[in-house]
């Protein structure tokens, strides 16, 4: 008799991902979907896909989904959650989407303590549109719009979104994780689960930043891309739990 100990979760559809080989989006999709399955809330979850490589997320998550305009997922999620306060609502957003055009929406969903969960995939670039620089692009990093490397005097400094959101009152949970090794994938899963639990307990806004790879636009092998996360991104974007509902004593 064989018992599956690792297999596709029911919270994902059968559609194969359109992502490039080795793209972190696939791993993160799985973690979110498994969490939802494990919490047994697939049938009361509404997900919000954003605009970025994960724009088609609605094809993969096996649950009700809305596709939001670029950057506006937190506002769309707010609209849904205010209608359905007892359902689960999450957004899945890239760094262009969340940290650039959608800055006002994420900051205010956080400040309002909107009881939603946000999965923030930070791959330091605009994957979908061909690798332009993002607010999270690190100094010196070459992208199609910083062909000579990101220069702080021209393009400013990489943005620590987790650090920034942690200063806001309505925020119940913020953590930064990554997926560059099986152990980190495990930790990422735990963080995502915790975020959804915070939502279940109606403690307010929960946020997980995942340091992710974009091998295609980084022009690296998937392997090297993971190494790059560990070596280049970690010093700028330290992992950890920045805030938790427990600490807040809410």
């Amino acid at each position: 008799m064989a018992e599956k100990i690792a297999a596709r979760t029911e919270a994902l559809t059968e559609n194969p991902f359109h992502y490039c080989p080795g793209c972190a989006h696939g791993i993160i999709h799985r973690l979110v979907a498994e969490t939802i399955e494990e919490l047994g809330v697939r049938e009361k979850t509404v997900g919000v896909a954003s605009v970025g490589c994960s724009v088609f997320a609605y094809n993969y998550f096996n649950m009700d989904m809305q596709q939001a305009a670029h950057g506006r997922a937190p506002a769309v999620a707010t609209g849904i959650k205010r209608v359905l306060p007892d359902n689960f609502v999450f957004t899945y957003q890239g760094d262009g989407d969340l940290a650039a055009i959608g800055t006002a929406e994420i900051v205010h969903a956080a400040a309002r303590g909107e009881n939603i969960t946000v999965i923030f995939v930070n791959n330091t670039t605009y994957g979908m549109t061909g690798g332009q620089s993002a607010p999270t692009t690190i100094l010196g990093q070459k992208t199609t719009t910083t062909p000579y490397g990101r220069d702080p005097h021209v393009n400013g400094y990489p943005m620590g979104v987790s650090e920034m959101l942690s200063t806001l009152g309505g925020v119940a949970h913020v953590s930064r994780v990554s997926i560059y090794s099986p152990a980190q994938v495990n930790r990422a899963k735990r963080a995502i689960k915790k975020a959804f639990e915070v939502q279940r307990e109606k403690k307010g806004f929960s946020f997980v930043e995942v340091l992710a790879s974009c091998p295609t636009n980084w022009r690296m092998t998937p392997q090297d891309a993971l190494k790059w996360i560990e070596e280049k991104m970690l010093p700028i974007y330290p992992l950890g739990e920045f805030k938790t509902a427990a600490e807040e004593g809410k």
């Binding site: 697939r42 049938e43 009361k44 979850t45 509404v46 919000v48 724009v55 088609f56 609605y58 998550f61 096996n62 649950m63 009700d64 989904m65 809305q66 596709q67 939001a68 305009a69 506006r72 506002a75 769309v76 999620a77 707010t78 609209g79 849904i80 959650k81 205010r82 209608v83 359905l84 359902n87 006002a104 929406e105 900051v107 205010h108």
Partner: protein
Amino acid sequence: MAKVLMGGNEALAEAALRAGCRHFFGYPITPQSEIPEYLAKKMPQLDGVYLQAESEIAAINMVYGAAGAGVRVFTASSGPGISLMSEGISYIAGAELPCVIVNIMRGGPGLGNIAPSQADYNQATKGIGHGDFHLIVLAPNSVQEMADLTMLAFQLAEEYRNPAMILSDGLLGQMMEPVEFNENPPKEKDKPWATRGAKGRDPNIINRLLIEAEALQKHNLKLQEKYQLIKETQCRCESYLAEDADILLAAFGSCSRMAKSAVEMARSRGIKAGLVRPITLWPFPEKEVAEAAKGAKACLVTEMNEGQMLLDIRLALKGRIPIHFLGKSGGIIPTPGEILEEIERIEVNLRG
């Protein structure tokens, strides 16, 4: 129900509540502030949601989310805020979500001023966002209609799964008139497509991305069919002393009130003037306007802008009779006296 004396913005807000709308997302802007302020007071008492968004962009996207989750929902703003909603409105129209958007117009362009104006006609009826889509646009001309057309807007929005806009202005928003609320507000439609959790069914998806050109064209053709149906069945128009009019005035919204007074003044001076007033600005009642103009020798379009509905009137009348225009802008309202003068000038020309 007894009549009550109410301001236009409050009447609109109250009508929305009576239509069963329990969700409002908006951002403050003059001259529509009475709407959110009224709702901020009432919604909590009705277990409804009044949420002040961080911007008009957030507001329209909250509307998208809430409409997608299957409730009656609306927002209100004015010129600059409506412009900011453009992208979101294009999404809502593309995703075929029903909702109501209120524009209490003020003077433009830019920050302009807060005086009443009709300068957003073109935007509302033609080019508010990218892509091929249309809003249903309703233009009240009284406090009563602020209420009635709001209820109608919810009904049409749901019937056609299309955003509907109330295009009004600060004059109608602030003025008080008696109003009687329709006691049979439109019933809410079933929304099996709404995202409320995929319990015992396949997932619902609210989306306006169709990466394959063929699929997007197919969707666009479906929208066009819907628009055609709306055009055929939902044109609304009112006329006043048009049958025997030599000079037909065309005006919408608050401006039509001044035009009506001018028609009366003209009639009392023996000039056969009449008025046609489009109530739906999209679909534009082209046939009805042409019909009203059948016997007329000249048309006078009057608007609180530099000539926007003028274009639709030109299309409707196909060059059959001369069309004159009297426009005021930047918050100036044409007085009945000024309109009368223009009628008289036209009359002299017609005779001479």
